[in-house]
């Protein structure tokens, strides 16, 4: 059991010690493989961080930073594989209703207290209460032999990815947003509004080889343009979410540029409940009317994966490759479908776009140009992000919108928003077959069967032309080559633990 006042003193002492060691540690040490330890890195971010409680955080921009601070029982690596982290292994019962984790020994929190089963039970219970996606957890029991058993409300064999949720010290829930104590490779040292976040090396990290850097700063930039200038000037070392026209300006002898499909789904989302988009033929016609390759090369300089349906191919087996090319541009087909639906002369429509996302605004401009070829006259309406969230996303008061949907790296998380009763089903999509599959998926234990169910579902959605899916934009990141070891993840993560100086400075 932990005593909170002691913890505060300890945390204070630790921060002091760390900042002292960071200040005094100017000399870089070399690891056994010749890797350099020590040094600092600055990562550019364009969103103001907001929430640091790992169980209430939602913004991708917050999560990607906290990945370095908090850890779960399991943890993704850059290939999208789940690896044991604070647990050393898991045993799933035959009926898939119980998961038993063995807790890793010798792990300490940033405040110096040792990780035990009590922390895990507390954290999972808290997460189950606060995070709707973890509400499947019925109870968590401490078996007393350093293992913890989680019982699910309904059997589900595909839940391991949800156990990446953060483990925090027992009873620290009320203060975790301020203390930010986890077990991760970096300690959360400071946050200054509008300026940035400073993380320092966790000297007692359970994996003694990591991390390499002494300090990582996430620096807030007003926008990509100003951040990019800072990258070029050397004020920022790592800048994720760049565009190709930016990276083309970089000196290749000074920067490494990394690209990867990001498991995001950008599309022209159509409100299926509003005329004329309630007619499947109109939606199909619009799918035929546009040229995805042209948009990808126009907006992304080719740095995107054209999509025909609601899931990105980076999701692996759940994606059905036979759907590729279903909606290749075919103007005649589009016109025929429009005529059939009674819109031979086209119609007027409005695309509502969030003005803070230049990519979406530009995509809307390109779409409007392409749609005009089949007589569809699209007007663009820009709204600010808060308005978009309120009116378009939560209020569903719109005709069409261009946006990128993000999800956890789990196929179920990608598609479960399309259940007709779903909170997040902002396009008002409704298909009883799809509803049934989404309901049955978690109950299905056989891996192969689940994959065929995903594919069947994508088939329905493609046939229905739920919306005009456009692309999975590549995540592009530039890294100053004074650093090495940075890895892109197919999800929103900035893993700093493997980043190190290329040569001792």
């Amino acid at each position: 059991m932990h005593n909170s006042s002691w913890k505060k003193i300890l945390a204070g002492a630790l921060t002091l010690a760390l900042s002292f060691s960071a200040a005094s540690c100017t000399q870089n040490n070399q690891g056994e493989g010749g890797e350099v330890y020590g040094g600092e890195a600055v990562v550019g971010i364009t969103q103001e961080p907001m929430i640091f409680d790992p169980h209430t955080v939602e913004a991708a921009g917050d999560k990607e930073i906290l990945f370095n601070v908090y850890e779960g029982l399991y943890k993704y690596d850059s290939t999208g594989t789940l690896n044991p982290c604070l647990a050393t292994d898991v045993v799933i019962s035959d009926d898939a209703s119980q998961y038993t984790f063995t807790i890793r020994e010798g792990v300490t929190f940033h405040d110096g207290s040792e990780l035990d089963a009590g922390d895990v039970v507390y954290s999972l219970n808290r997460a189950a209460e606060l995070m709707p996606e973890l509400s499947f957890i019925e109870n968590v029991t401490d078996n007393g032999d350093n293992t913890v058993t989680v019982t699910l409300a309904t059997p589900n064999s595909e839940m391991l990815s949800y156990f990446t949720t953060a483990i925090i010290p027992e009873d620290s829930g009320d203060t975790i947003g301020e203390t930010r104590i986890g077990t991760g490779p970096f300690v959360f040292t400071s946050y200054e509004a509008g300026i940035g976040i400073v993380l320092t090396r966790n000297e007692n990290y359970w994996n003694p080889e990591l991390p390499y850097l002494d300090q990582v700063t996430f620096k807030i930039c007003a926008d990509m343009d100003s951040g990019f200038l800072e990258l070029q000037s050397g004020a920022i070392d790592i800048f994720p979410y760049l565009t190709t026209d930016k990276t083309a300006q970089l000196d290749p002898s000074q920067f490494d540029v990394l690209e990867l499909g990001s498991n995001m789904v950008q599309g022209l989302f159509l409100n299926n409940a509003v005329a004329p988009f309630d007619d499947v033929r109109v939606r199909q016609a619009m799918n035929y009317a546009i040229d995805r390759d042209e948009i990808v090369s126009l907006i992304m300089d080719g740095a995107g994966l054209p999509l025909t349906t609601a899931m990105s191919p980076v999701m692996g087996e759940a994606y059905d490759t036979s759907l590729d090319g279903t909606y290749n541009q075919d103007i005649e087909q589009a016109q025929a479908l429009l005529a059939e639906a009674g819109y031979a002369d086209g119609f007027d429509m409005t695309i509502t776009v969030p003005s803070n996302y230049l990519v979406h605004v530009n995509t809307a401009v390109a779409l409007a140009d392409q749609l005009s070829a089949v007589g569809i006259n699209a007007t663009i309406e820009q709204v600010d992000w808060a308005t978009w969230l309120d009116r378009v996303y939560a209020g569903r008061d719109y005709e069409s919108t261009v946006i990128c949907l993000t999800s956890d790296y789990a196929p179920y998380d990608v598609i479960n928003r399309y259940i007709s009763t779903g909170d997040n089903n902002f396009i008002n999509y409704s298909n009883p077959n799809v509803d049934e599959i989404i309901t049955n998926l978690p109950l299905t234990l056989d891996e192969g069967e689940r994959i065929s169910m995903y594919r069947e579902l994508l088939g329905y959605m493609t046939e229905d032309a739920a919306s005009v899916y456009i692309q999975d934009p590549y995540s592009i990141c530039a890294v100053n080559n004074r650093l090495t070891g940075y890895e892109l993840y197919p999800m929103y993560v900035q893993d700093m633990s493997t980043v190190r100086l290329a040569t001792a400075e």
């Binding site: 990509m224 343009d225 026209d245 930016k246 083309a248 300006q249 042209e294 090369s297 126009l298 907006i299 776009v353 969030p354 003005s355 803070n356 230049l358 605004v361 530009n362 809307a364 401009v365 390109a366 409007a368 140009d369 007007t379 663009i380 309406e381 820009q382 709204v383 600010d384 308005t387």
Partner: protein, 272 residues
């Protein structure tokens, strides 16, 4: 140095500069070499050349065609905005200056409050209530700029009130509205014109600032200010995206400015 020759020079240069913008505006109404909004991935970021004399932008659109088309929005926003501001400012400023007292206090406190209030917020409201269209933004801009005119009118009216012809008009019980609009207003032209010119310039700048927030001219349409705001991302690789709209704006503002100089000097000459 002959002052009237000098002021003629202002008129000639000013008219020539404005003529360029007007020519762009008129040509843009009837003809553009390429589609204003036709995108093409094959011709992105082309530097000025024979086919595209002003180059092309990030979506492969011809900048010259867009400059021709943008003139109408820049002219519309600035003139309509100033017209709204001038109308509001004239009425409130004259009233405040002429009647003074409590009315003056109320009007000045109100106009100070509007002046202190961030214009961007006002534009956001207009857009939230009426939807993001150019016309709503013009109203918002007009309201934001009205107090500037009101202040000029007010202080000049107070100055004029001491003049004999106003005093005698007052004694003869001429209708105050008649005094304001027939006797005072025409005499304020020399003070108001520079304010109008500056207002036109500021309006143009403010509009381009608002397009950062997605207010104002909605894409794919463009004003010069909006073209500039959009070009910020590419200023290093495609400087022509900044240079040509800036040149157009400079032509426009400088032209107006010279004409106002001419008006001012010839007015002063006439009164002597």
């Amino acid at each position: 140095m002959n002052p009237s020759a000098n002021s003629k020079k202002y008129l000639i240069i000013g008219t020539a500069l404005i003529a360029i913008v007007i020519a762009f505006f008129l040509i843009g109404l009837v003809w553009t070499p390429y589609g204003i909004n036709s995108t093409d991935s094959a011709s992105k970021f082309m530097a000025p050349c024979a086919e595209h004399i002003f180059g092309t932008d990030n979506l492969g659109r011809d900048v010259f065609s867009r400059c021709l088309a943008a003139a109408r929005y820049t002219l519309l926003v600035s003139f309509a905005g100033v017209a709204v501001a001038l109308a509001l400012g004239t009425i409130t400023g004259l009233l405040a200056g002429y009647f003074g007292g409590l009315l003056d206090k109320v009007i000045m406190v109100l106009s100070n409050s509007v002046m202190c209030f961030p214009g961007i917020l006002l534009a956001l409201v207009a857009v939230a209530v009426f939807g993001p269209s150019l016309y709503n933004v013009i109203w918002a801009l007009g309201l934001v700029f009205a107090p500037t005119f009101a202040r000029v009118y007010r202080s000049s009216t107070i100055e004029l009130l001491g003049r004999d012809y106003i005093l005698s008009a007052k004694v003869m019980k001429v209708n105050p509205i008649r005094i304001m609009f027939v006797h005072i207003l025409p005499n304020l032209m020399s003070q108001i014109l520079p304010a109008v010119i500056i207002g036109l310039a500021n309006m143009t700048l403010f509009e381009s600032g608002m397009s950062y927030l997605g207010l104002g001219v909605q894409p794919p349409a463009a004003s010069y200010g909006k073209m500039l705001a959009d070009a910020q991302s590419y200023m290093v690789t495609a400087p022509w995206l900044i240079i040509f709209p800036t040149l157009m704006l400079v032509c426009y503002i400088l032209g107006l400015y010279f004409i106002s100089e001419w008006v001012r000097t010839s007015m002063r000459g006439g009164s002597k």
